[in-house]
Symmetry: D2
Subunit: 265 residues, 4 copies
Amino acid sequence: MNHRTTPVKIGHALVGNGGFSVFAGPCSVEGMDQFSQTAQFVKGHGAVGLRGGIFKLRTNPNSFQGLGQQAYEIVKTVKAQVGLPFVSEVTDPRQISDLENVVDMFQVGSRNMHNYALLKELGHSRRPVMIKRGFSALIKEWILAADYVVQAGNANVILCERGIRTFENATRNTFDINAIAYAKQNCSYPILADPSHGTGIADLVTPVSLAAAAAGADGLLVEVHPRPAEALSDGYQSLSFPQFETMMTKLEKVLSALGRRFEHV
Amino acid sequence: MNHRTTPVKIGHALVGNGGFSVFAGPCSVEGMDQFSQTAQFVKGHGAVGLRGGIFKLRTNPNSFQGLGQQAYEIVKTVKAQVGLPFVSEVTDPRQISDLENVVDMFQVGSRNMHNYALLKELGHSRRPVMIKRGFSALIKEWILAADYVVQAGNANVILCERGIRTFENATRNTFDINAIAYAKQNCSYPILADPSHGTGIADLVTPVSLAAAAAGADGLLVEVHPRPAEALSDGYQSLSFPQFETMMTKLEKVLSALGRRFEHV
Amino acid sequence: MNHRTTPVKIGHALVGNGGFSVFAGPCSVEGMDQFSQTAQFVKGHGAVGLRGGIFKLRTNPNSFQGLGQQAYEIVKTVKAQVGLPFVSEVTDPRQISDLENVVDMFQVGSRNMHNYALLKELGHSRRPVMIKRGFSALIKEWILAADYVVQAGNANVILCERGIRTFENATRNTFDINAIAYAKQNCSYPILADPSHGTGIADLVTPVSLAAAAAGADGLLVEVHPRPAEALSDGYQSLSFPQFETMMTKLEKVLSALGRRFEHV
Amino acid sequence: MNHRTTPVKIGHALVGNGGFSVFAGPCSVEGMDQFSQTAQFVKGHGAVGLRGGIFKLRTNPNSFQGLGQQAYEIVKTVKAQVGLPFVSEVTDPRQISDLENVVDMFQVGSRNMHNYALLKELGHSRRPVMIKRGFSALIKEWILAADYVVQAGNANVILCERGIRTFENATRNTFDINAIAYAKQNCSYPILADPSHGTGIADLVTPVSLAAAAAGADGLLVEVHPRPAEALSDGYQSLSFPQFETMMTKLEKVLSALGRRFEHV
């Protein structure tokens, strides 16, 4: 019944090899201090990789759209400091060749999961690709999106559950814990959980992260910010440094109870 | 931010006092052998209470509707054998006075969560009441349904998350893990998880049960059958005896890692 | 492909015989003046029946719950004045025998569509039954709910589409126009449309009513109030008298274009 | 309350000027005969423009993906024959400059509504743009997607409601008739209805088209095929020629009843 997961290597980090791989960082790269502080903190508490938005997809054309190319030097410097791989979203097939010099894994965002032009182009990239589930995509469609990338030539694909859109409005999305367990049993791609978008409420991120680990996820993609209240995007769902530390401590206990451990670089 | 949970006593069993309370049994009480075997097995492996349908709500008027009053003697006999409290669904305010002699906690099913005539009448019962979330009810509406019972005079109310109806069709429902964490933080009712209806697939019940425990649920309501393939209802989502035993072993480890333990009678 | 619709008689009014039957009135019967004025106005502009809540199902136990039995005399007096049949919601099987003296058709509300105890009891009533679609019920489940009433002995059943719960929040519900067309083709029950709950916005009631007529609905159930801003419930979705008159004028034109006409008593 | 609609010109055709503009054609351009026959038939029965897929977005990478550039000559020839403007989907910003020589209006498909890289690039095109609603997009997000194109420099934008994804599975999507009425009142973009994707069932296309017209839509985008059973994609929801003719006859009556008429080239 269970498919065997095929591990994917991102820089020096492994995902899907039995360990639990945490990618952490701010929603958006906002500046050198913010990104560097966050990177050092999360590395010191068990993260295996960094996340951070450079080009942001925003529903409203007047919202903050990310630093764009201005972030490139910041990211390169911080990566050199901490020695962790970096994941960031690509929103246009024409960005790929440039971004390949900065990112170690491309993220396809929820709103682009059905953007097959982008998926096909990523099939020609030398970087692994993480595909977030479309917020209204069937699990079946999500796996087919990964198949698009693989069929175009890139076998290094990871899935990421980040919550689906339902009638419930107390939370930003409904995190689909079933999808974690179902996908682990029905495909061979590693599965990360994004409890930040999956809940939209910082206080729910830790319990849902523990749940994802208990259900079998291969790791997390989680938002952390030195001062969540001042974040330029998504502050309400970002963990503070102490919250991140507490979460990692609890995660380690749950993983250990199930015979697992954190993946380390 | 966190509400303190008010414990509820069902017979000798406690729910919401920090421990983890497992109610297990068949979807429907089908006969003496089936119910007795199941009761003894689940008691022997850590269950604190029994579940089993007597009057079944079925979408199709021609489906099996439960044994009805014929089940009363079976239930009384088995309860005496194993000494565990019994939870069963009430579907009509006129059944309450009779059922009170058999059940130790009334279950309000998902399809009756908005049946305020039933909720008000249960406010006059001496038995505790477990309210399953309507499959399209907002968390806010679910808590208000519990308030109906309390305002009518019965303070012993428990909530049960059992999955919501979404566009996803690989699973029977989408188990809302966020709702567990959210309700724990925003109301004082104990929260059970029903991973059987929450997934509709026996192979997903264990990972989702572990997730619910990790997210802070006060216990489970789970379907177990001696021979799932022969069950008169919901066999595809019922655990076999060995599956139940394995789940309980894993649950104990996760609970222990988080400083919790099984509630026992 | 098309099922033939079986007409149902409510008092002197026919539904499902090819004509278009409008039931109109306030969300709740609030008093003699309000109900009498409304009844006379809607009768004068083409309504074939009256609607009005006596026992209200409210999500919040502290909201206005309807006048209850105090409304009985008001309703009887107004019915005698205008000579139209009256439709009202039944929320408890124990209300049926009393309510039968006041109502000419029972309404099963959206939140009770899955309340099979109520449906079965209505199967023994001598009054026709209108079943609103559960706000998350499949079309198939809605038709099966009607079958419950019929199998219990009452063949006079009408369906009413009133919108479903989706992620969209600009409107109160998503009126499922497909369901009107689909149900007309796949079952023989007459279908009414409730654009008041289906939209939750008075300004949308007229266009959606016209749409329902164009798609083949057998009539409407629509909320009208002499002073919507002062209504004790649902005023934001109630038509004023001038809005009702305008809607009826447009409806007549659309119906006429399709070879149909208003049903009259 | 009502916004005034800003008309958009597509070739010689107007949309949003009070008339009702029908764009019809096959799901995919499959060959010269199929497209030419269809174009001549729909022109002869009131269509003001042609539709037809060249590059198809398919969930499954192994499904038919459209003829691609092979379709260009077919489309140019048929456009010259019938003298109608042509609408087709663009799926990649890099296709725009080529496609501009063939299409008179770009279609942004439902799965690309959130593809802001594509929307911004279309802001620089000289062709008008029709934005289909994302199948899980809020009405508010749909209008913001149109704003993206306008802010990037292209004021000629049309919206198209094509159904949303809900729990209902009897129909392919749930056509959101409320959204037609709501968008007409709350923005100035013309609104087309796509009853083919909105229902997914050919027998429902006519009633839902009539409903859309009655609710105020500015026109239709509808699938028509000479032999629906042989279509390479979406045949089950395509109208045959006789079905299209019948629909147009009924539409004319409903429009006329509401003081409107078909737009003609």
